[in-house]
Structures are given as C-alpha cells and as structure tokens.
Amino acid sequence: DVKVTQSSRYLVKRTGEKVFLECVQDMDHENMFWYRQDPGLGLRLIYFSYDVKMKEKGDIPEGYSVSREKKERFSLILESASTNQTSMYLCASSLRTGTGSDYGYTFGSGTRLTVV
C-alpha cells in the first residue's frame, strides 16, 4: 500500500525552538507539498517542491523553510517556533505532469503541532 508518512502525529514544542517535521513517500512522486490546516481557514500551502533540491514558496512561507535532499523526503522547518504556528501540518505528494495537473494528491496523516 503506497504511503506518505509523517514522522509524528502529535508534537509539543516551546516558543523559539527549531522544529523539524519530516515527510517520506514511497511512490516515487516528483511533487511534494506542505500545507497547514486551521479552523475557518482551510488548507493553506506553505511550500512545495517539484524535484530534488527544488522548492517554491506557497501562500504562507513566512517563518518556514524546507529541505528536499532526496526525492522521497520533504522536510518542513520552523526556524523559531511561535504560538501562531500551532496548527495541523499536512504533507502530500503527487506525480508531475508536463502542463496543468492531472493527478490527485496522496496525503500523510498529519502532524498536530502545539507551540507553548
């Protein structure tokens, strides 16, 4: 069964800590994504990557960075965690097409991060 695996289901961190959220997929997908989900705001795209070592900013990249050293792994980094980064973080992956996009996403189970 193909999978996107997020390293933690629940995480509690202190303000100012550097936080790493890991995501691994086993489907040989080119594209990987990080979203955060907040009540009333839906899913918002933080960063995405369409190839190894490539990254693109999404709608809300401030306070975050990403790393994609290998095709299967896409890490989200909170440089200095703040309470307003308390959220559900969702990683996803998909195949890439030449133009447009014809493939659905496969999501991980999510990481619920609380920053205290």
Partner: protein
Amino acid sequence: SQQGEEDPQALSIQEGENATMNCSYKTSINNLQWYRQNSGRGLVHLILIRSNEREKHSGRLRVTLDTSKKSSSLLITASRAADTASYFCATAPHVAAGNKLTFGGGTRVLVKP
C-alpha cells in the same frame, strides 16, 4: 488564498439519504478534485474531473462540473455513517509547475444512523 468555496459549510442527514455539496471557484482550471477528511486525519483523494468533462461517477459518488458557472457539485448517494467527514474541493490551474492545488474551506457532513 482559497480558490474554492464549499456550500453548505455543514450538512446533517440520516443514513440512506443523499448528500449534496457544492463548490464555486474563481479562475479557470485544468481540473477539479474532491477529497474527504475524517476527523483529525489526512485527506483522501476521491475523484478528479477535468475541465472538458461535465459529469463523473465513482461508486456512490457523482461529480458534476459547470465551467461556465465555475461550479461543481458532489453527490453522495445512499449515505452511510462511515461517510461522516469533511469534504473539500480543490482546483488545479491550467498551467502550473508542480501540480499545485488550491483547496476550499470544506463541508462538514454528519450522517446519523
């Protein structure tokens, strides 16, 4: 920014009834997708409809797309308690590097036994 807006925001029905939810979007699209999210979990891809398609079926799911009105609907027939979840539409623009989707705010569906 949210491209899709779902309507209604919440829906409560009895088991066996049909559930219909709608999605409106603003810009032209390559395709539109629907996802389900069970409480506190990741999203699961349900169905994709391309901009040149008007209707698509998958099991108890029926999706329609009206590009002239920039809207789509998802119908779940003969609902079951297990269909209780949030449902999201997501749009893919015509030209996008990396298959970037924009999600709507979701419809919460409660199916009562």
